[in-house]
Amino acid sequence: MIPLKLFAATLAFFLLAALAPAGAAVLPVDQAFRVSGRLGEDGQITVRLRVAPGHYLYQDKLRFSAEPAGVTLGAPRLPPGQEIDDEFFGRVRIYRGEVEARFAVQRLPPGAAGLTLVVRFQGCADAGVCYTPREQRLSLERGRPETAVMRPAPGPVTDALREPALAR
């Protein structure tokens, strides 16, 4: 019989070996950054971005817009994030872990039960690769606690790439 201590040690080694350098992994973009959203009864939108370990998002590349055209959004309230001194971009703020952005829907067209929120983001992996800017669309309906999230477009979005702020 394998002694319990030996079994425990084996398990610990296996787990450590498997998990410890996970920070260096490069995940597909839809696994690296997961976006979900909610539209509360009070008209407040909460967007949650979950950044996988070993990955990060640039704060200044985060953009929120809404459709249809009649929808007006308030200014997003974002957490401060972590300031880094980038060799090329100077002082920039990044997000790791979980980020929650909150903002109000200032105007919803009469009769509309919800809206499509467009979240644009761009991030990198610590392993030394950066993802092209992505755009994810969320269908948000008032009163539904957590609306189903659409998958990111298979390719990057031309609009996001064309945005001047992203092409510095």
């Binding site: 070996a17 498997a18 350098p21 992994a25 995940l27 070993g54 060799e87 690769v129």
Partner: protein
């Protein structure tokens, strides 16, 4: 079981677990590279040039090409470009040809190339450039992505993520 035997067993199991852990850990298998797929017609994909015209990789066929997909907004890309400039200067006469493919805006690319004194040609594109990268094995659409092509136009190696001068030289030297 004797103490010695127990210790041996412990070490043996621990080593196997470590090996298994490393094997299953995606970090040790990433970034993916070496998948040398030569897609039909990739040389003739037409992209914009920084000068405002059109061009394709076919212009440099017959040389050992290092095709580097990059962007001005990608910090790891910017870090390795000075290495490429140096290598182009050093090995260009032997038939090495770097070609940059910027997944970016023309207006952003032009001043950047000048500032860094990039001594090799570049093509510029957006979705079309990413599609070319995808056809060469970059499923993630992540940058930088570097592709080594031999004189016959065959893709020899692809590298996702930043590379080094030494590593790249080890790949291109036998091809020159």
């Amino acid at each position: 079981m004797s103490k010695t035997r127990q210790a041996f067993l412990f070490i043996a199991v621990a080593l196997s677990a470590l090996a298994a852990g490393l094997y299953f850990n995606p970090a040790t298998r990433q970034p993916p590279q070496g998948t040398a797929v030569t897609p039909a017609g990739f040389m003739s994909v037409s992209l914009a040039t920084p000068e405002g015209g059109k061009g394709s990789l076919a212009a440099w066929k017959g040389k050992v090409m290092v095709v580097n997909f990059w962007a001005t907004w990608c910090a790891p890309c910017r870090k390795e470009i000075p290495d490429f400039v140096r290598m182009q200067q050093r090995l260009g006469a032997q038939g090495l040809q770097f070609v940059g493919v910027a997944v970016d805006e023309l207006e952003a690319v032009r001043p950047f190339l000048q500032t860094l004194g990039v001594n090799y040609p570049n093509l510029v594109g957006q979705l079309d450039a990413l599609e070319l990268a995808r056809s060469l094995g970059n499923e993630m659409g992540a940058l930088p992505f570097t592709v080594v092509v031999d004189r016959s136009g065959r893709v020899v190696q692809t590298i996702l993520g930043a590379t080094t001068e030494a590593r790249l030289e080890a790949i291109v030297s036998p091809l020159l």
